[in-house]
Symmetry: C2
Subunit: 149 residues, 2 copies
Amino acid sequence: MLSIGKLGQAAGVKVPTIRYYEQIGLLRPATRSEGNQRLYAQSTLSRLAFIRHARDLGFPLEAIRDLLALQDDPNQPCLAADAIARAQLQAVNRRIAQLEALRCELERMVQHCAHGKVADCRVIEVLGNHDLCLHPDHDNGAGDDHHHH
Amino acid sequence: MLSIGKLGQAAGVKVPTIRYYEQIGLLRPATRSEGNQRLYAQSTLSRLAFIRHARDLGFPLEAIRDLLALQDDPNQPCLAADAIARAQLQAVNRRIAQLEALRCELERMVQHCAHGKVADCRVIEVLGNHDLCLHPDHDNGAGDDHHHH
DNA sequence: CTTGAACCTATAGCTACTAGAGACATTAGA
DNA sequence: TCTAATGTCTCTAGTAGCTATAGGTTCAAG
């Protein structure tokens, strides 16, 4: 049996994050010691590593919830897992395309900056006048990313 | 003088977002009509369009706050604006690199899926066993992106 | 047995908005 | 001019995925 701290260390997940996962039902409530502290079996470690890995790959928690349910039911066909992974791949591809457009615009901006006064600054100018953009319909897109660390 | 709705339409920003920007001090409090409704001058439209454009390019609001301050003081040297834009460019580049590693891993995952049972699913397997990854140190990285839309 | 680290709960904060409730203002049409 | 529809007002709470803090308890080493 592992304490929450050992579990977190082994899985590369912070302690409050583990408690958070329990709170939102991604991990089942842990058994407790006599003194009310959480105790985990090895099986929880693999489950948590699974979550951690999926998070690293950018899967949202709701998708992970579905993947875990599939994992718990190994006789199901794996179409659903496949679909979730494909959706994530598409989201990543979309995000990359958007960011590449942004990179292009930002590069133009900083390359043309003459390092003079703000009044003549290309950065400020471009931000103020969208028409100066190469692709006037660029857009940072739907925020399908997550935050961590 | 523009109502908040017209202003939002003209700048491509939703009405509650404009009120939010006022609340956090990114826009100065608007003058009010007799009936307490916000009224905006044309100058606010360009300011809001500036914010919108910078947001589309992924600048965080705090960076935009600094850029606006620079814009209001056109005799300053533009080093600071340049630095903000370069930082944003670097953040975008970092993010692209991370996402490309993710894309690679996700593609491998879905390509090797045999579409059988979950028990044999490559997607589930890879998520559960990090060692199957091409670059075992891949990571979705610091969440420096924002959400909108 | 004591000390310090790790643990507990509960709450608030982070980014950048978005959604909703319930009340007031404005405006276009009859 | 009246009315109905739309727009606006404030305030609060919710979104994702944690992170941080406060104030208290338990555990393990010495």
